[in-house]
Symmetry: C2
Subunit: 312 residues, 2 copies
Amino acid sequence: MAKLYLGIDLGGTQVKLAVVSAKGEILETNTFPNNAGSIPEKILGEIVAHAQRMKNFKKLAGTGIGVAGDIDQSKGVVRFSPNLTAWRNIPLRTMLQRRLPHPINIDNDANVAALGAYWLEAKGKVKNLVCVTLGTGVGGGLVCEGKLYRGTTGSAGEIGHMVLDPNGPQCNCGSRGCIERYVGAPYLSLEAQELVKGGKSKIMHKLVGGNISAITPAVIAEAANMGDTIAGNIWRQAGERLGIVLAGVINLVNPEIIVLAGGVSRAGNLILKPIKDTVNERAFRTPVRACRIIISRYDQKLGVVGAALLVK
Amino acid sequence: MAKLYLGIDLGGTQVKLAVVSAKGEILETNTFPNNAGSIPEKILGEIVAHAQRMKNFKKLAGTGIGVAGDIDQSKGVVRFSPNLTAWRNIPLRTMLQRRLPHPINIDNDANVAALGAYWLEAKGKVKNLVCVTLGTGVGGGLVCEGKLYRGTTGSAGEIGHMVLDPNGPQCNCGSRGCIERYVGAPYLSLEAQELVKGGKSKIMHKLVGGNISAITPAVIAEAANMGDTIAGNIWRQAGERLGIVLAGVINLVNPEIIVLAGGVSRAGNLILKPIKDTVNERAFRTPVRACRIIISRYDQKLGVVGAALLVK
């Protein structure tokens, strides 16, 4: 019988578990809210309890865990996680040893999403894939020659901190003008909020009932789809900006597919079309023609599936 | 006995041949001017004649060839070469079959330089390396997990066409503001020439005896080393600009070493120091600390050695 793996997507607000086949098919899932706050022993206890209740628990050949943050993959340690603020140098693998099926592998959310996209979107049939997670932050993961590429210190794939404009606004990372600083969800929201404050978009103003701070990328997308040109322009510009950086990624990495995932990618064609137009204009012809760019249809599943397949 | 390989660096003005060990040691070399112009049969005839005269010819276990341009590595075809202008879809491997030791592998000059740097600079002891060739154009090659990474269509590593400034000057590639457009030799030269025309640098003016169009990166470096602040600023700015792009490469690829090669890299610390300062300021701490940036000491040998080791 084909091997089965346990995948865990450990988020700050919820934890997703899934039993996954070697080809990335989900056989069983279990999702529960992370009410344990940030106390590692408590969260891990709940994870173990939920895992043990799964039908296939005894058949599992290993466990993979995805956590946002700075992960030491070789030691299985969470150095730091933005979603689990009290976590500093938590030896996750050691703490779960003997409680969950092993081997146990851990990686960051963007790498895990890339591996999930590799199996769910590309069916394991391409050699080189780039996954871009567009959420609060902009993350990325690379699959090269069919394997997750982590780089020298496990930090590869930080597409969000490639520079769009060297003289652009200060980024949290210490640099200036990083692409995350333009297309990260909070910055898109803020851009729209400023425009609405300036009276530029009645549609967005109406959609949030005048509560301007409630404007999110979802609202901007809704407005754009209702014909609001201000909202449409925000997406066009976001796509063009991301396209400039992705043209560089295409010229450097020459992937066969770029998969966009995360909340901001749900804007769909509003952001995808200007991305495609820009890379076609900017990147070298041979690699850009060989590269498909898609928005993931499996957004919510990339994390658990990729986590499970860390062990494969 | 350890295997020996023939490396050929096929340039527009000269052709270099070397017999190379599996560890990248050069045992024997032979360089001759490319007087054959651009006629493939003629150049190849001369290459074969020179190769056959080498002492170790009968001991060779294969041949590797580096050529500037667009190469189909799998078919061994030179699709196009800027240095050999009449070459279009030249089936180099087939044409050399039975005349040189096989297997015969062909790749572009930047990939070959990366492989050369991997063995000569890193002694094959790192996993991930980026090589940047700074000449008329700016090229690049990647070694990932100890192997030359070519990407999906053999186009990976085009660092020169990552964008520094989206609104920058038009680049030959069709995009705008590519880093090559700022630090490629002709653009550095032009920048200096304009400044000298404007009476800004008496030192550079004097170094070329008033013949302003003779100002090259070598002259700019000489002037900077003589204390010319205008020339020094050109290098500082070039290093900062390259540093911004390399910070992105460090965040994305997370290499253990970046090797700079090519004529423009001979400016040495004039360009290396601002590059290092900028990446330290811009890139993520963990990957930038793990990454050495050096100027190759083996500049002239990277091509032949890397070519030979294509076959390894």
